[in-house]
């Protein structure tokens, strides 16, 4: 729970419901870091917002609140105006050439 606003830090998305030995906060930041590796291909950036949601920022400075990872890609497509496709060969080439 966030001490400032009293919001419960829970997400309804399936990909965050798996049990892990890592603290939830640490898992959350790992997830954001990996998502940013993908999103940087589209010049987007994702940040944590109060431990309960996320803020997605476009290269022009537009910012959108994203409640969970189930919504992320849909909002990203709206911000960029282009499909976010994991089967896109250009994205795969970029991921495999990006520094680890």
């Amino acid at each position: 729970m966030c001490g400032l606003c009293g919001l419960l830090g829970t997400e309804g998305d399936w990909s965050t419901s798996i049990a892990s030995a890592l603290p939830a906060r640490q898992q959350r930041f790992m997830r954001i870091a990996l998502a940013n590796k993908i999103l940087s291909f589209f010049r987007l950036g994702l940040e944590d917002f109060q431990g309960v949601s996320y803020v997605l920022t476009s290269p022009t400075g537009r910012r959108e609140i994203v409640s969970d990872f189930g919504q992320l890609w849909r909002v990203a497509e709206t911000l960029t105006g282009r499909p976010i496709d994991p089967l896109d060969p250009a994205l795969l080439r970029w991921l495999s050439s990006a520094p680890q």
């Binding site: 993908i38 890609w73 849909r74 994991p86 089967l87």
Partner: protein, 347 residues
């Protein structure tokens, strides 16, 4: 992770194309031991509901969801009906049922029904997903498949396939149909006939969200291992050997020897389903997750992924991850390359 443990009510779905024998199967189920502690919802498309009258002789509290199909136009009514049923159960107005069976219209796509349960903030704390039973009319299967896309959605979404009217076709055609169903939905259990026998307990129990998910998962693993590695099955071997050229559905199984990073996999699958969910008819698999001692079972239908289930053990020494995809118009090689790239470079 701290969890609260209490009994959730299983919502099972009986679906199948028009005239396939859903109501007959339902009547037989209710007349058997399964009928105990079972509430029934029936959805009919026509102006005048009939099926609930047939079933009502056996289950007098049957609720009829009429004037629309439960998968699209009356999903709100499904929620209301489940809430009312639960409320009556808690007040003691109806016996304490432990499962609900929903018989859909013959035109329903089962996936949105489960989405109603999974996404509703009230229902998901009282109901859990049971199994989807799809009744397949063996005599008309070829015709239904060719003419009605709903048939494919129902077959690919199924956990159990019940073949009816098998006696109306030749043994050769029946065997070909069964093999075809195994190919387009390799993870489903296939049963023959609408008669309910004591040994058919798998029909409505032992799903992945049951109290013993490992039993269902072990059955999956056996099914997945029986398929050649990375085999792709293009559809087309229909019961009458007629090739269905307009269909592009195929299923394939990807096998991974190394452990999978769950975060990378979750990002990849959520991206894939966001962009291609309409064409990813089914995803089912057992994953060896990095950092976890035991496997995780995943299960998705179109855009919807069920909560992943931790299994208490591996059935044997094999630690490979296996994921089956049933897709429409998507190449296996592209999916495999994409998933392997994400797993290898997203760390």
């Amino acid at each position: 992770m701290t969890t609260i443990s209490f009994d959730l009510i299983a919502l099972n779905v009986i679906t199948g194309f028009l005239g396939s024998g859903k109501t007959t199967l339902l009547r037989n189920l209710l007349a058997s031991d399964f009928g105990n502690e079972t509430a029934v919802l029936i959805n009919e498309f026509g102006e005048v509901g009939i099926d609930h009258l047939l079933v009502g002789e056996i289950a007098p509290d049957t609720v009829l969801l009429k004037s629309g199909c439960v998968c699209c136009s009356i999903r709100g009514e499904l929620k209301d009906a489940l809430v009312q049923l639960f409320s009556r159960r808690q007040k003691g107005e109806v016996p304490k049922f432990c499962r609900v069976i929903l018989e859909t219209t013959g035109l329903a796509d089962p996936a949105p029904i489960f989405a109603t349960i999974l996404t509703d903030p009230m229902l998901r704390h009282h109901f859990r997903l049971g199994v989807i039973v799809t009744v397949v009319d063996a005599f008309n299967a070829t015709l239904h498949e060719r003419l009605h896309p709903e048939w494919t959605a129902q077959v690919t979404a199924a956990d159990r396939l019940v073949l009816t009217k098998r006696d109306l076709i030749t043994d050769e055609a029946g065997d070909a149909l069964q093999k075809h169903l195994e190919r387009i939905n390799p993870a489903a259990l296939i049963l023959t006939g609408a008669e309910v026998k004591p040994q058919d307990r798998l029909l409505l129990t032992a799903g992945l969200h049951d109290s013993r998910p490992e039993r269902e998962a072990e059955r999956w693993i056996q099914n997945l291992r029986s398929r050649p590695q990375n085999e792709s099955d293009n559809r087309g071997v229909l019961s009458n050997h007629e090739h269905s050229t307009h269909c592009r559905i195929n299923s394939f199984c990807l096998v991974f020897d190394h452990q999978i990073n769950w975060t990378a996999f979750g990002l990849w699958l959520s991206m894939l389903l966001n962009r291609h969910g309409q064409n990813v008819l089914r995803v089912k698999g057992i994953l060896n997750i990095a950092g976890a001692d035991y496997p995780v079972a995943i299960h998705g239908v179109q855009h919807l992924v069920h909560p992943p289930v931790h299994l208490p053990r591996w059935p044997d020494a094999d630690r490979q991850s296996r994921i089956v995809f049933i897709v429409d118009g998507i190449d296996q090689e592209i999916v495999e390359e994409s998933l392997r790239t994400f797993c290898e470079y997203l760390k």
